[in-house]
């Protein structure tokens, strides 16, 4: 039984997301708000839910529109939903959708709501320019390239000066360090070889391609008939490369440290557009409406550390807490979904799970343990699928639950690293 709450249990009834597309590609003319609307409208339509049942809508986005900063409220103002829906936006960097989900879950646990939608959206095609002119040009060039080598060639032209951060969303305000620089630093501190990173990236692409081909991954994806002209339809992620090879990845130049670096465009998650959301209900409500939920939230935890230390290592601190709150161990977890911001971060996090040092920092005497590769990111991760910052947390939640259901398994762990030195972990369960 869950160790949080007051006897109520929060059901995740269903999850849906748009395809994740590379910034500047298929969804370049759709704002984050509109991506969120498409996704929420489809979630309500495909779950046969009456919109009038929805009491809350919590949404995350990392780079909000300057004009309409409360994305949740904008998304909620569709005729499909009652105007009285409580709609607010949350911000926890790449764990924003997770924050949205746990906030909505908390409201349900408190008995304030019975039905809520939570998720997030990001359009990196539609942000106030994040990069220097040089970077922007090269990204556009890369996104236009028809072939992988063409894209690599374009990306390879990116120079460190192009990466001089302009907005606080990508660089840490306290340290001035960019996300990529942080990942580079973590690779060095945790001694993560380049090959290991490239292998992880390759694995991510291959598993995601397999999941797309057999429909396991696309089960969570809604078709997007692309507005405003509806001349095209997107039904799957456009960043996954079934034909990726180790040699291609190995040929890429490190971006953040040209001399001794190992983090490349190939072993990092790309700039992505997309939205994802889940439908949450109290267990009783789900039952009374006749739903068979995907699963339930068993426990969750957030953690944080000094951003100047290892910016993306906090999942290592959050996971043992979430597991302890669930009354379970890593061995109980049938599947583990770990957000892949950078391969260097994933490998650092995994090493942290095995480390006595990080266990003690988290306040535990034993490490979390070694993650069985056969249970980790079994349909790839953000490196291949893409990473619309505000949406990823909801994507991972749905991916994990759908695959648990398909396998007939019970427990799943997910972790998400976030800027600001923050981390998130959640344990979900299915009735076996």
């Amino acid at each position: 039984m869950p160790t949080v709450g007051n006897g109520r249990r929060v059901a995740i009834v269903e999850g849906v997301r748009t395809p994740f597309t590379k910034a500047g590609s298929a969804f370049k003319s759709i704002s984050a708000i509109d991506l969120g609307k498409l996704c929420v409208a489809e979630l309500i339509q495909r779950t046969n839910l009456s919109g009038s049942e929805v009491e809350g809508l919590v949404f995350g986005t990392v780079i909000p529109s300057v004009i309409a900063p409360n994305i949740a409220r904008e998304v909620s103002l569709m005729p499909i939903l009652p105007k009285g829906v409580q709609a607010y936006s949350v911000s926890r960097a790449c764990a924003s959708a997770n924050q949205a989900i746990t906030d909505a879950a908390d409201q349900i646990l408190l008995g304030h709501m019975d039905v809520a939608i939570a998720g997030g959206a990001e359009s990196l095609s539609n942000v106030p320019i994040l990069h220097s002119q040089g970077m922007a040009e090269k990204l556009v060039l890369a996104s236009k390239a028809k072939t992988f080598p063409g894209r690599v060639k374009a990306l390879a032209q990116i120079r460190p000066k192009d990466l001089i951060p302009i907005t606080p969303a990508i660089a840490e305000p306290t340290t001035g360090e960019t996300m990529g620089q942080s990942a580079e630093k973590m690779a060095k501190l945790n001694d993560i070889p380049r090959e290991e990173q490239d292998h992880l990236a390759l694995r991510s692409h291959r598993l995601a391609a397999a999941g797309t081909a057999d429909g396991r991954l696309t089960a969570e994806i809604m078709p997007v008939y692309v507005p405003p002209r509806y001349e095209s339809v997107v039904t799957s992620d456009n960043g996954i490369r079934a034909d990726s090879s180790f040699e291609q990845l190995a040929a890429l130049k490190p971006v953040f440290d040209r001399n001794y670096g190992s983090v490349t465009a190939g072993n990092s998650s790309p700039l992505t557009d997309g939205a994802a959301c889940v439908l949450l209900m109290s267990e009783e409500k789900a039952r009374s409406l006749g739903y068979e939920p995907l699963g339930y939230i068993r426990s969750y935890a957030y953690a944080a550390l000094d951003p100047g230390e290892q910016l993306l290592q906090a999942p290592v601190l959050a996971a043992p807490v979430a597991l302890a709150r669930a009354g379970l161990t890593l061995r109980d977890m049938d599947l583990v979904e770990m957000h892949e911001a950078f391969a260097a971060q994933v490998l650092s996090n995994l090493r942290g799970f095995e480390s006595q040092y990080w266990a003690e920092r988290a306040g535990f005497s034993q490490p979390v343990g070694e993650v069985d590769q056969s249970r980790l990111n079994v349909m790839g991760g953000s490196i291949a699928i893409g990473h619309p910052f505000g949406a990823t947390g909801a994507r991972i939640t749905t991916t994990l639950l759908n695959e648990l259901r398909r396998r007939g398994q019970q427990f799943g762990l997910m972790t998400v690293c976030a800027a600001g030195g923050m981390g998130f972990a959640m344990v979900v369960e299915r009735a076996r």
Binding site: D34, K37, L38, A41, E42, Q45, R46, T47, N48, L49, S50, G51, M78, P79, I80, P223, Y225, V226, P227, P228, R229, Y230, E231, S232, V233, T235
Partner: protein, 730 residues
């Protein structure tokens, strides 16, 4: 609450605020009683020297005054009586215009006909900036002209061009546009309408505010403000009106005469002419027929669509909150577009995503048109689009209230989707077919719940065509029928309930008409001669053009089904078969009886099509064009008789077989379904006008000439024998 009076006056600070709130009616209208109240009220205000000015405001929610009471108008039996009515109205408005106490009109909601004429006589007009606030002089739509000074005051207020635009079309003008033309003096938010109206009344009474004449700019000066310009405008209006009405509608040219009289002979002459012409129009058969149609549609709006024994409970209406549509083609998308515009959640399914996307694009086109015309805002546009979802499986069909299938016209395909759908939808959900050719009972054969299956026959393009045929089978549950009728009305359609059978009603009576047009081509008639004869008769498009529009493939397929069902009298003409065999499917392939340009715009007759038809018998010219073909000259009257008579005959059969419930439904169905000339009142009204015996005589004569096709319906024979009519004599 239960005051018998319509006018309620409160006097404060020297301002009389008159609230009009007709007891027991949803909207305000002018009838004799209200007029008497106005006369008495203005008598009183004249004497009450405490009153300096007056404000007129409506007590109805979002509705000002809908105009004159038409039912009362129908009681008039002579032109002199109608003329007197008009004259009395003019006198009352004159008196208001000259009254000691100026009147300010506070307009929120529709301000129609006589109400707008009153507003024109008043001293200041404030309208609310609200979508429900529209102003119009719709008299021509029922064969009349404005009779209370509208043809005189309106051109002087907003210029002759803008005035004719309103008077000759009867169209509604939104508040913003009314402000631009100077029809109203001020726009305000509804919340402050009364307050500002009182304030303006005080100012006008004090002389601190004068009415400012709206400037019409340079073109206003050239065309509206001087006699030469006005002559040009009036001449042009006459020409255009004649072109549009083909002489079938007397009211629009008469309205131009009334406007012109006010300029040529001075105001008093203008008012006299207006009254005289109003009286003349009131007695025209056109006016009577248009009013009949108006009442028939009003009656249908209140009709549940089902007849239940007296004393039984009302049918239970199930609201449609979510609509599933099968088939994202032109019809499916059209239905989706009207569904979302009524706030219905719509889920549209087709076999592949590309087709669904095309459907989305078609819905978008409908809404974009409204956006471009500023009928909706950008936010409303995106709100409406957000109600539309697409799928290639039945996801999201679990809670639909109604499914409308618009898939390929093939019984096996229909059976397959019905079976699939019933496995996914709730038992309470209704399944409707938008078929135009297949009997509903045949489709319902495979249903687990045939009582929840019926037909919803929309016409193309769905967002423009006003009629919906709801087709019931022997098994259809009356609650299901009533629910679908209610939803059809919500979609803005005029709904007739018809009994199942090949072609239902509209296509069944249309087919003999189209077939006969084709047979005229077989006999060598020119394509444009046939179309022109029926345009002259009053149809909005000729039968051959209609075939091009509908698509020859669709038309011939439907024709074949009806031929199988009804036998020889529905035999398809050789011409159609010859043309369709060459792949000339009409406008959609830009190749048919007529020429079409890249955008699908219709041009002249495609002369090359004649090589596919039987040659003309005698030598006459056909049309313009270089390679003019030899075609047989057939008089327009014969073309009209030969095409329209079998249509009337078939309509009578439909009535006899209870395909339609009443002549009223038959008239409305023909007028709104394919534009049977409204001024003739519909097939049944038209037969009453001709006389049943005369209809019978013409059919018998035709049957002698062309045995088999014109065999008079039995009901017609027996009615003629008994001297009966379809409607009681009015």
């Amino acid at each position: 609450m239960s005051s018998p009076y319509a006018l309620h006056t409160e006097i404060a600070n020297g301002i009389a605020v008159i609230t009009i709130d007709l007891p027991g009616e949803p909207v305000n209208k002018f009838n004799r009683a209200v007029k008497d109240e106005f006369v008495a009220l203005f008598d009183r205000l004249e004497r009450d020297l405490n009153v300096k000015a007056a404000v007129l405001i409506s007590g109805k929610k979002d509705s000002f005054i809908a105009g004159a009471d038409i039912e009362e108008f129908l009681e008039i039996t002579s032109a002199a009586e109608a003329e007197r009515l008009s004259h009395e109205g003019q006198l009352l408005l004159d008196r208001i215009e000259q009254h000691r106490t100026p009147l300010v009109m506070a307009i929120h909601g529709a301000c129609m006909g006589g109400a707008l004429e009153l507003a024109l006589a008043a001293h200041y007009r404030i309208a609310t900036d609200h979508p429900k606030t529209v102003l119009a002089l719709p008299e021509v739509q029922i064969g009349l002209i404005p009779g209370a000074g509208g043809t005189q005051r309106l051109p002087r207020l907003i210029g002759v061009r803008a005035a004719l635009d309103m008077i000759l079309t009867g169209k509604s003008v939104r508040a913003k546009k009314a402000m631009q033309t100077g029809l109203v003096d001020e726009l305000v938010h509804p919340a402050i309408l009364k307050k500002i109206a009182i304030q303006r009344a005080l100012e006008i009474a004090d002389g601190t505010r004068r009415h400012q004449k709206h400037s019409g700019g340079v073109s206003g000066f050239l065309l509206d403000e001087n006699p030469a310009g006005r002559r040009v405008v009036l001449k042009k209006a006459r020409e255009e009106t004649l072109k549009k009405t083909r002489g079938n509608y007397p009211a629009p040219p008469a309205a131009i005469d009334a406007v012109a009289a006010g300029y040529s002979g001075g105001p008093s002459h203008g008012y006299r002419e207006e009254s005289r012409i109003f009286g003349e129009m009131a007695m025209t058969p056109v006016c009577r027929q248009l009013i009949h149609i108006f009442f028939a549609t009003s009656a249908l709006k209140k009709d549940s669509g089902v007849e239940l024994p007296v004393g039984s409970p009302l049918p239970e209406i199930m609201p449609v909150n979510k609509l599933g549509i099968l088939g994202a083609g032109f019809m499916g998308a059209g239905i989706a577009s009207v569904g979302i515009q009524q706030g219905t959640l719509v889920r549209i399914k087709d076999a592949d995503h590309g087709r669904v996307a095309k459907g989305f694009a078609a819905v978008r086109d409908v809404l974009r048109e409204r956006l471009t015309k500023r009928q909706i805002t950008k936010v409303e546009y995106s709100d409406l689009m957000s109600l539309l979802g697409g799928t290639v499986d039945y996801s999201g069909f679990g809670n639909v209230d109604l499914v409308i299938e618009a898939v390929f016209e093939d019984l096996n395909v229909k059976h397959q989707v019905l079976r699939e759908t019933e496995a996914e939808i709730r038992p309470s959900a209704i399944f409707a077919s938008n078929t135009s050719t297949i009997p509903i009972a045949r489709i319902a054969e495979v249903s687990q719940r045939p009582e929840r299956v019926l037909g919803m026959h929309f016409f193309s393009p769905v967002h423009k065509m006003p009629l919906l045929e709801v087709i019931t089978t022997e098994s259809t549950d009356p609650d299901v029928t009533a629910s679908v009728v209610a939803y059809g009305k919500k979609l803005g359609k005029t709904v007739i309930v018809v009994r199942d059978g090949p072609g239902f009603y509209v296509n069944r009576i249309l087919t003999p008409y189209i077939n006969e047009a084709g047979r005229l081509l077989d006999q060598g008639a020119a394509i444009d001669a046939v179309d022109n004869a029926l345009l002259d008769f009053g149809f909005p498009v000729g039968p051959i053009t209609l075939v091009d529009e509908v698509g020859l493939d669709v038309g011939s397929k439907a024709g074949k089904i009806m031929y199988e069902a009804f036998g020889e009298r529905f035999a398809p003409p050789a011409s159609m078969q010859a043309v369709v065999a060459t792949g000339r499917f009409g406008r959609k392939v830009k190749k048919g009886f007529y020429l079409y340009d890249e955008e699908g715009k219709k041009g002249e007759v495609d002369q090359s099509v004649y090589s596919l038809l039987a040659p003309g018998a005698r030598e006459t010219t056909s049309t313009s064009g270089t390679q003019a073909q030899t075609r047989t000259q057939i008089p327009a009257a014969e073309i009209q008789q030969r095409t329209v008579m079998p249509m009337l005959n078939e309509a009578v059969r439909c009535l006899a077989e209870n395909v339609i419930r009443s002549p009223r439904d038959g008239d409305v169905g023909a007028v709104f379904g394919f534009g049977f000339p409204p001024f003739r009142g519909g097939p049944f009204r038209y037969m009453d006008t001709l006389g049943i015996a005369e209809v019978l005589r013409q059919l018998e004569e035709l049957n002698d000439r062309f045995p088999g096709r014109f065999e008079p319906a039995e009901l017609l024979v027996s009615m003629a024998r008994r001297g009966e009519r379809f409607y009681p004599e009015s």
